[in-house]
Structures are given as structure tokens and as C-alpha cells.
């Protein structure tokens, strides 16, 4: 007799709400991975998420746990407020590159400086999605956006900012890595990193951030698969994947 087992199913930490993300947008993958990690760690019922302003503004509709909605860029400050008065909860922010690397620069850097025990999921797709495709600090050199119509001119607007590299110079940071969501192998690695980032918080080892290279087919104006190829071919050389800072106490952790 042949039985069947479930190899994969939608995680409990996601609601049944259909996301508003465009087809093929890897926000959905990142959501799923976070949800899977919360399920696996069994912390859904004590987790509080902080949604950003940007495409993931409605994240709270898709996760099946408590959620608050931050002002643009201030998610780390809001998370700080929550974590400080309720240290028993697991608190994470979910932020895009406009939110985290542009308007929210001070808040993310200072959360790291304070060694705030929060977890940050940082979606780097090199563009402002929600407002329709403007240049982000992470936009690649020469990349056309609606606010850099001739391509990003690095002389006038600077080079792409590398958040993982920058934050890893800060003492309070416990776990800072960059992963990518462009293929199954990297998605698996990204999930492990997200797990470690939450473990960092559970162990009180300070600020944890997983930067995820992500796609935006709509605003990049290419197909979902082409967008994944763009990550591999164009983003990876600028944003090297890797562990930028790992607290020694995490070194032996197998997830």
C-alpha cells in the first residue's frame, strides 16, 4: 500500500489572505520563509511584527500574528519601544530598501548601535515599489527608474548603499548577513539565515538583520523569471552574499 505524506504546505503563521504583491514578486517568498521559521520555532503566539511603509505596508494582513504598522522608516524605533516594554515578546521589523536604507537610516543604525534585541528582515530590491518605481539608495549604477530617467548617475546620486557591510561595523550588531531569493538554493540559505536572526533575538545576542536580495518585476519592467536572473547577474556582483557579522555564540548553531 502506498501512503502519501505532506512534503510542503502553507505555514500556519500566514493567513489565508491573498497578497497584493505583483505576480512573481519575491516579497511573497520572504513572507513565507519568515512564517515557516516562526512555525518551526513555535513562537508565532508571542511574535509581534512591525510593518513598514512601502510595498510590504500590508504585511500585517498576511501574517497570522500580532502586527503594528510603522511610519515610513521608523519600524526599528517602533520595534524598540515594543521590545523594551515587553521583552518577553519576539519582535521583528520587515522593511524595504526605501524604508530602511533611505528615510529610516538613522533608526536602523541606532537600533544596531543600541544592540536592540530585535530581528530585521530587509528586502533589497533596488527600487521604490509602492510609489511606482523611483530610485532607491540601493538602485544599481545606471539603472533607470522613474526618478532617474536616464539611469542612476553615481556622480550626482552616489553609489548603491551596502547596508549589511555598513551595519556590520557596529558593535551592537549580533547577526548581519546578506542572502538572496533568486533560486531554490539561495532561498534555502535565506531561510536558515532568518532562523538564525530570530535565534539571535531569543538568545539576547543583540541586533540581527537579514538583507534579502529581492525582485521587483513590475518596476524593473521585466518578467518574474527575468527578474530573478537580474538578481543573479546584476545585483550579486554589487551586493555580495555572505555573513558580515555573526555573534560568536551563534557560531555553533545548526539550523
Amino acid at each position: 500500500m502506498v501512503m502519501e505524506k505532506v512534503v510542503y504546505q502553507r505555514p500556519e503563521s500566514l493567513t489565508d489572505t491573498v497578497t497584493h504583491y505583483c505576480p512573481g514578486c519575491t516579497h511573497g517568498v520572504a513572507h513565507r520563509l519568515v512564517a515557516e521559521v516562526l512555525d518551526e520555532m513555535g513562537i508565532r503566539e508571542k511574535t509581534i511584527g512591525v510593518a513598514p511603509v512601502g510595498c510590504s505596508v500590508f504585511a500585517y494582513n498576511y501574517f497570522n500574528h500580532d502586527y503594528v504598522e510603522a511610519a515610513h522608516g521608523r519600524a526599528p524605533a517602533m520595534a524598540t519601544g515594543i521590545k523594551r516594554v515587553r521583552p518577553q515578546n519576539t519582535v521583528y521589523t520587515y522593511q524595504g530598501d526605501g524604508d530602511l536604507a533611505s528615510i529610516g537610516m538613522a533608526e536602523i543604525v541606532h537600533a544596531a548601535i543600541r544592540g536592540e534585541n530585535i530581528t530585521v528582515i530587509f528586502i533589497n530590491n533596488a527600487i521604490y515599489g509602492m510609489t511606482g518605481g523611483q530610485m532607491a539608495p540601493t538602485t544599481l549604477a545606471g539603472m533607470k527608474t522613474t526618478s532617474s530617467p536616464l539611469g542612476r548617475d553615481v556622480e550626482l546620486t552616489g553609489y548603491p548603499v551596502k547596508m549589511a557591510e555598513m551595519l556590520s561595523t557596529i558593535d551592537g550588531a549580533g547577526y548581519i548577513v546578506r542572502r538572496s531569493l533568486h533560486n531554490p538554493v539561495n532561498i534555502r540559505k535565506a531561510k536558515k539565515a532568518i532562523r538564525k536572526a530570530f535565534e539571535t533575538q531569543e538568545r539576547g545576542l543583540g541586533f540581527a538583520m537579514v538583507e534579502l536580495l529581492s525582485s521587483c518585476p513590475t518596476n524593473w519592467k521585466i518578467t518574474p523569471q527575468e527578474a530573478l536572473d537580474f538578481i543573479e547577474n546584476s545585483m550579486l556582483p554589487v551586493y555580495p552574499l555572505g555573513d558580515y557579522k555573526v555573534h560568536p555564540e551563534l557560531a555553533g548553531l545548526r539550523v
Binding site: I48, F63, D66, Y67, G81, V85, R86
Partner: protein
């Protein structure tokens, strides 16, 4: 408890602690810094949260986050710091979480100076942030009132899921006066049902201020406005002095009102039938009370430490029944009682129509006074 000699800022902070504040998030700015300094010592001592934020922007968003857990939380700042909080304040209002914010107002606009001022009246009462929301604004005028009203502020914030601003100026913050602190309140163990605490055995709680469909946002706006109309009915607070038989009413809040009370007393001694109305809730504004007064007196004098802001609210309420005159000092100058006494004398004998020129006329008198070295 017996009265102690207490300094305004410290009495304020200690009273907040006794009212059960569990999180303080702030950034140094004169003249409110002592608040933060006091909290930096006392809060950790009690095992409560204190964070010196990287900025006022971060501070208000920390407050915002902490408020979402249903705990009593607050910040204290001063004019430019409050401006930086404008966005966060509007978010807090839109999310309907209770927050107490103390503004120790200073001279402005811009960097201005650190001297006492009431130049943020509009910012506080009309909402410095964007969108339709209605903060409660309380203006204590003594150390005891500072204690009493910060306690009340937390209760009102919770009751109406509202922002409560406490506005004072450096005079109140720096002053020592005999006052009585309330006993330490017990901190409730249970969070309110709307709070985010982890969705253990219940549906997730979501706290947000985004309502992408205007129809939904309008529902929120209506709820906020109806709640506000409730607050307008229930939460008006004020002090009166010698108004019973008054023919002239002086209206002023905070330090200006307090200084005016000296002038009113002196004027009474001269036989001038003058009384004082001191709004404590600037918002809700004591509309009915001032309307009633305007039906009884000959003339009204509004005294402020700004260019005539509450003046507009008074005029709106008085509806032209009697002339409304104005006297203000600006830029961090605190008026002395003698100036206001001069004004009371002048107003008492003035029978001319003011004809919406009260500010122009005041400016002339003020410039003459300054030229005269006063």
C-alpha cells in the same frame, strides 16, 4: 501625604511614574531635559523602560510602539522636538493608542531660544500633524497642577485612546512650589484587549493607521470625531477667579494666566471689577464657559505669551458680543504683573470698538512699552 517643596520638571516626572508610566522615550532638549535626566535615574531603578532615543523622531516612534502594547508610556520634549514628532503624533492619533506628551514650550519659531513661551498653542491644539485628529491639551499653571494633570492625562489617554498633550513653559518646569505627590499606583497586569502582546489563544491584533479605501478611513474619521465631541462634553477644565461680579474678564492660560491673576488681584484692590478665566483644557476649549462670560462682562482681555493664538478661539466663541482685546509678549519674554495691570486699567476705561484690530493696536502699545524700556 504632606506638601513638599518640589521642582516642576521633577514633580512632573515623579508624578508620571506614580501614575504608572512604564516606558519613557526621549531626547535631550532644553528646557525639558531634566525630565529625561530624572527618568534616566528613576525608571531603571523601578525596572521600567527608559531609552534616550537618537532623535525626537525616533523617540515618538518608540512611544508609538510601546503604546501599542497597552502600557502607559510618554515622552517629554520642547517646541522643535515636538515639531519633529508631528508625523508620529498623527500616526498615534490614527492608530488610536493612548500616549502622553509633555511640551515645555520655548521661544520660536526655529531654533529660537530656551525661554518660556506659549508659541505652540496652535501646533498643540489644532494638531501640528496632518489629517483630522483631536488631541486633548492640558495646560497646568503650578507645580501641583503639573502633578494633578499628568496623572489625569494618563487616565484620559487611556479612556479615550487619545493623545494627551501637557503644555507648560520653562517657568513651570523650573519653579519650586509646595505640592503633594499622589501615592504610587499599582501597575495593571492585564493588557487591554486591543493591545499587541502576542496572539496567544486569540486572533491577531493589528494596530495600524492605514485605511486605503476612503470609505473605511471616513468611518475612522467619524469615530474619532464622535469621540472628540464626547470629550468636548466631558473633559473641559478651567479655573476662575473673581468672575462673579466682573465687568472685565481676563483670559489666559498657563504662566500667562497665572501672572494675570496677580494683576487681577491688584486691579481688584484698585476697585476695578475684573476677573480671571484660566483655561486648563486648551483642547477641548472651554467654549460654553467663555460664551457665558461674554454675556456677562463688558470687555474681554486675552493675555498670552505668543502673538495671539488662543485669541482666535476666544473670538470665535465670543461671537462679537463684547470687544475682545489682546496683550501678549513673545519670543520667550514672560510678562510681569504690572504690564497686565496697566492693560486691565486701560481696558476698563476703553469704550472704543476694537473692530478686529486688536492685534494691530496691541503691537503699537507693545512697541511703545519696549521703547520705554519695559
Amino acid at each position: 501625604m504632606t506638601k513638599q517643596l518640589l521642582k516642576g520638571n521633577e514633580a512632573f516626572a515623579e508624578a508620571a511614574i506614580r501614575a504608572g508610566v512604564e516606558g519613557f522615550f526621549g531626547y535631550p532638549i532644553t528646557p525639558s531635559t531634566e525630565f529625561l535626566e530624572y527618568m534616566s535615574r528613576r525608571m531603571p531603578e523601578l525596572g521600567r523602560a527608559f531609552v534616550q532615543a537618537e532623535s525626537e523622531v525616533a523617540a515618538i516612534n518608540m512611544v508609538y510602539g510601546a503604546a501599542c502594547t497597552g502600557k502607559r508610556v510618554m515622552t517629554a520634549s520642547s517646541s522643535p522636538g515636538i515639531s519633529l514628532m508631528s508625523e508620529g503624533i498623527s500616526y498615534i492619533a490614527g492608530t488610536e493608542v493612548p500616549v502622553v506628551i509633555v511640551n515645555v514650550m520655548r521661544g520660536g519659531p526655529g531654533l529660537g531660544n530656551i525661554a518660556p513661551s506659549q508659541g505652540d498653542y496652535f501646533q498643540m491644539t489644532k494638531g501640528g500633524g496632518h489629517g483630522d485628529y483631536f488631541p486633548i491639551v492640558l495646560a497646568p499653571a503650578s507645580v501641583q497642577e503639573a502633578i494633578d494633570y499628568i496623572t489625569l492625562a494618563f487616565d484620559l489617554a487611556e479612556k479615550y485612546r487619545s493623545i494627551v498633550h501637557i503644555v507648560v513653559d520653562g517657568n513651570i518646569g523650573q519653579m519650586m512650589e509646595p505640592a503633594e505627590l499622589p501615592p504610587m499606583r499599582k501597575i495593571p497586569k492585564e493588557a487591554p484587549e486591543w493591545a499587541v502582546t502576542g496572539a496567544k489563544g486569540r486572533e491577531p491584533n493589528i494596530l495600524t493607521s492605514i485605511y486605503i479605501d476612503p470609505v473605511d478611513e471616513e468611518v475612522v474619521n467619524i469615530r474619532l470625531l464622535k469621540r472628540w465631541l464626547e470629550i468636548e462634553k466631558n473633559e473641559v477644565r478651567y479655573k476662575e477667579y473673581a468672575l462673579d461680579d466682573a465687568e472685565i474678564a481676563v483670559i489666559g492660560f498657563g504662566t500667562a494666566g497665572r501672572v494675570a491673576s496677580s494683576a487681577v488681584r491688584a486691579a481688584r484692590e484698585e476697585g476695578i471689577k475684573v476677573g480671571l478665566f484660566r483655561p486648563i483644557s486648551l483642547s477641548p476649549f472651554p467654549k460654553k464657559q467663555i460664551e457665558e462670560i461674554s454675556k456677562r462682562v463688558r470687555r474681554i482681555l486675552v493675555v498670552e505669551m505668543n502673538s495671539g493664538m488662543m485669541l482666535e478661539d476666544v473670538k470665535r466663541v465670543v461671537q462679537g458680543r463684547v470687544p475682545v482685546e489682546f496683550y501678549g509678549r513673545m519670543g520667550g519674554v514672560t510678562p510681569f504683573p504690572d504690564e497686565i495691570l496697566d492693560e486691565i486699567r486701560r481696558v476698563d476705561s476703553n469704550t472704543a470698538d476694537v473692530a478686529d484690530l486688536e492685534r494691530e493696536q496691541w503691537l503699537d502699545r507693545l512697541e511703545a512699552r519696549i521703547a520705554g524700556g519695559k
